[in-house]
Symmetry: C2
Subunit: 217 residues, 2 copies
């Protein structure tokens, strides 16, 4: 039992180290030795858990996909309507991208055209945004726009914040995401719903986050 | 003279091949032999023109920066106001990103965190978008929004279209970009200016482009 726990911890440490090294050096250049030494384990231990660098990248992407799933389900039911839910989740995702290197590296790996057959985190996000907008339409909180007209632009903007935020966390700051929703919500929301929507997010923000340009990873 | 022309043509062929191989394989993996053989020249000829893979990447980024510059200046003065100019240029940039591998690879290289000291094409685009919005404000065509509030969202969305378009050209299609501006223009434009703005772009579109999901590269 103790042995099994230790194996799980080692596996998790390797996924964290791999995310850090993939983010810093890129998948192609990332060395397995750098990953194992950052995790404080031997190369042998790394190979016991992961047969190749590609398997390690898949594990990072899987972990990131689970975290993305956890972020969207954590908000489910809390927000008043699906448009507010979309706003709240986008704030939470932006914050976590600056704090969580596994989530960050997962999105980067998923964009990598060189590796084949990886997880499609952008697709997962796109499907979720599309479904949230469909729900908002069903709730009558969308105005003159249809979910299909809007989804691509929302996904493109959030992807842009994520990509640009990799080099400068200000792109993922609470202020930047709030301004985006301040711009977009009056176009998206039906007039009776607009007044109740909070572009800054309807959830209390963790101390130190609001107004900060993001945190260094 | 003839010799000089041939040298220029070889240099250009190498830049084109390098863009193709960087786009396909990524900078880190891209092999100089693949690049020279695609250009139809010897490894020696490649090394005569470019001392290293990094120099070749810089040449691709420089060429892409010139093309971006040419795209924005080609529209200057043609559009009625700076907001329409922004719409027209974004359509043109999207189309060219699907057609021109040098422009495409230039943006990809400029995003690459691994290489240091590269050209900042996203910064060049960001500055141009900011300046266009400032001009639009000066012309009185912006509504209740200020350029500073809007610029980041426009840059993020266009960056998202570019990044997502690398894997699926539908993200850069005329239809996708038109929908983005249909969504945003009513929020950006002063009411008297809105009626005169064309979300689909005010320039005639090349045959075969409108409505197509983009072209394979």
């Amino acid at each position: 039992m103790v042995k099994q726990e230790r194996a799980l911890r080692t596996r998790e440490a390797l996924i964290n180290s791999a995310a850090t090294v993939f983010h810093r050096d890129g998948f192609s250049v990332a060395s397995l030795t750098a990953i194992s030494s950052l995790a404080g384990v031997s190369n042998g231990a790394l190979h016991f858990h992961f047969a190749s660098k590609a398997r390690l990248a898949e594990a990072v992407e899987d972990a990131a996909a689970h975290r993305l799933e956890r972020i969207v389900t954590a908000h489910d039911g809390a927000a008043g309507n699906a448009l507010q839910l979309l706003v709240d989740v986008s704030h939470d995702l932006a914050r976590r991208l600056t704090e969580d290197v596994v989530l960050r590296a997962g999105f980067e790996l998923s964009r990598d055209q060189v590796r084949e057959g990886g997880r499609d985190l952008h697709g997962q996000w796109r499907r979720w945004v599309g479904a949230a907008l469909e729900r908002a339409a069903g709730q009558g909180v969308l105005g003159e726009v249809t979910p299909g007209e809007v989804a691509a632009s929302v996904v493109a903007a959030t992807t842009g914040f994520e990509v640009l935020g990799a080099q400068d966390p200000a792109w993922l700051s609470h202020r930047t995401i709030t301004r985006f929703w301040q711009l977009l919500l009056p176009r998206l929301a039906a007039p009776p719903a607009l007044g109740g929507l909070v572009a800054a997010g309807s959830h209390p923000v963790q101390p130190g986050h609001r107004g900060q340009p993001g945190r260094p990873r």
